[in-house]
Amino acid sequence: MVGKKSIGSVIFKVIGYALLVTLGIMSLYPFIVMFMNATRSMEEIRQSALPFWFSDNLGGNWAFLRASEARGAFNAFTGFRNSLIVSSSTTFFALYFSCLTAFALTAYEWRLREPFFAFILAVMMMPGMVGTVGFVEMVWSLGMTNNFIPLVLPAIAAPAVVFFMRQYLRATFTPDIINSARIDGAGEFRIFNQIVLPMMKPAIATQAIFIFVGSWNALFMPSILLNRAELFTMPMMVQTLTGNLYAQELGAIYLGLAMTVLPLFIFYFALSRYIIAGVQLGGVKE
């Protein structure tokens, strides 16, 4: 009986690990192919598209990418800078104002508090895409195209982030914290900025990662509102790659892709522990 059971569990474990390792390779291998091919020349890729190691044509591919930049297409640095501006401002607005709203929902008792929270829950599931046409028409009539502001300001109202922040604040907040500050004569707004915000650091850190990555990866709205190449964000730069170099210089294409993916790759593996914990805490889906 015992022997039979252990054989069964050994087989189970072998199958289990085989599947886990296969899935792990599946996650990683496309990126390995990309990074290796980024260093290979067109000829090498044509001969064997499945690389086994890095090659020495990184410089050649880079030169080709630079040449296409001169023609006004792909420019990784511009894309990186623009994405950094948009994503960090989006993250700041979403975090600060969601914390403020969550504070209003937790610390004070007001008549519309429960209805307001119910409303936030209801709109959390709404796909952001459905109001796009009206939003863009509004941006047009204000003459705000080719401007980062309409990409950033809507982040002030982020229902899912408010929900997460409220859950966190409810678990950590006690009225005593602000009562003593009130006795010392601090105003409510100062209490929020100097006492409550620092208290929420762990929640802010996890949410910051997701808001930043979501904004960094966004393609839909930026490609509607931005049409000047010097304002393109990173995903839009990838899009310029598809049309421009297609089927001509595979090595350069892989290099361009690698440059758009590498920052997130480093970011992810540096913070993976917090990211995994964050997903399991909040379950925020873009």
């Binding site: 996650s27 809507p154 873009e286």
Partner: protein
């Protein structure tokens, strides 16, 4: 008494601190939503209309809707593609996520290196979807690695397969990318759900002699309902608004086989000819579908016991009220 006076005193700050959210939400979400709804009943289309912003309600206000639903082939194709690609990505995704959840939370079989596997499985989700889609289009290109593996190395296909010319192959690849990007996320959410359960219920099941499989189906799964609901609803919303992957994989092709609803809205409204009214009507249709599906899923997965208890409580209250009235009547 004193405490109450204080809270009344501070209540206004609840309103004041909610103002930024309310203003931003009204301006950037509510107003555009109503504007979109209004536009869907108008003749707002074309470059001239886009310049002047003039729009008039149509003689038959529902014309944009009826045209889309019954006459517009591209819209119908987009709808079919979106649903098809969502279904064939979501079913394997949820099954694999459930299997991995069962393994990773099993109390008997402990898998080593779980942390590493979680990090690896979730990774595709964090990388820009557009980059991933384009990466896959290079992997499946004519001279790409997949053809190289199948044709040059293994020789299992007679000639290089034109993945980008086959409708079904392209749809399957897009669905696979979605599956590959999201199963790790779904798994993490489900694991969090299982870890949040009271460990006593598993101990009881063990004492009763339930094996791992039985425990999973009779204890874990029923208790995971709410989390499953969350996963299904968010996946529907995400799936129906699928944009980046099909756009950067083949830009909707070949022959519109991977053209999705959000690409339809994007192309109609901003593709150069500005059919804004049509795009607005399509948006509202997506909105209604999402709402209906969410309500349906909520209804199917609702906690039947809790609902029954609620009904019971309500019935009791009602009978108490009636009793009260009867008593009053007697008096």
């Amino acid at each position: 008494m004193n405490k109450k006076a204080k809270s009344v005193n501070y209540a206004k700050y609840g309103y004041i601190f909610s103002i930024p959210f309310v203003v931003a939400f009204s301006l950037f979400t509510m107003y555009p939503l109503f504007r979109t709804a209004f536009m869907s009943f108008t003749d707002f289309a074309g470059v001239a209309a886009r310049e002047t912003g003039v729009m008039n309600i149509l003689e038959n206000p529902l014309e944009n809707y009826t045209r889309l639903l019954f006459e517009n082939e591209l819209f119908q194709t987009s709808m079919r593609n979106t649903i098809f690609m969502w279904v064939i990505n979501f079913i394997p995704q949820i099954l694999l996520a459930l299997l991995l959840t069962a393994w990773f939370t099993s109390r008997r079989t402990k898998f080593k290196g779980q942390g590493l596997f979680k990090v690896l499985f979730y990774m595709p989700n964090i990388i820009t979807a557009g980059s991933i889609a384009f990466l896959f289009s290079t992997l499946f290109a004519h001279f790409g690695p997949v053809n190289y593996l199948l044709y040059d190395m293994l020789g299992v296909i007679p000639e290089r397969f034109q993945f980008n010319q086959s409708a079904l192959a392209s749809q399957l690849i897009v669905a696979f990318i979605q599956f590959w990007m999201w199963y790790g996320y779904t798994m993490l959410i489900l694991i969090a759900g299982v870890l949040g359960m009271n460990p006593e219920i598993f101990e009881c099941a063990e004492i009763d002699g339930a094996n791992g499989v039985q425990q999973f189906f009779y204890v874990t799964l029923p208790n995971l309902k709410t989390i499953l609901l969350f996963v299904v609803v968010t996946s529907i919303v995400g799936g129906l608004t699928m944009f980046d992957v099909p756009r950067l994989f083949e830009d909707g092709g070949p022959r519109n086989a991977t053209h999705t609803l959000s690409m339809f809205i994007f192309n109609q409204a901003f593709g150069g000819r500005f059919f804004l009214n049509r795009a607005a009507a399509a948006s509202m249709i997506v909105f209604v579908i999402v709402a209906i599906l969410s309500i349906l899923v909520f209804y199917l997965l609702r906690d039947k016991d809790a609902a029954a208890i609620k009904r019971e409580i309500r019935a009791r209250k009602r009978s108490e009220k009636q009793l009260e009235q009867v008593r009053k009547g007697v008096q």
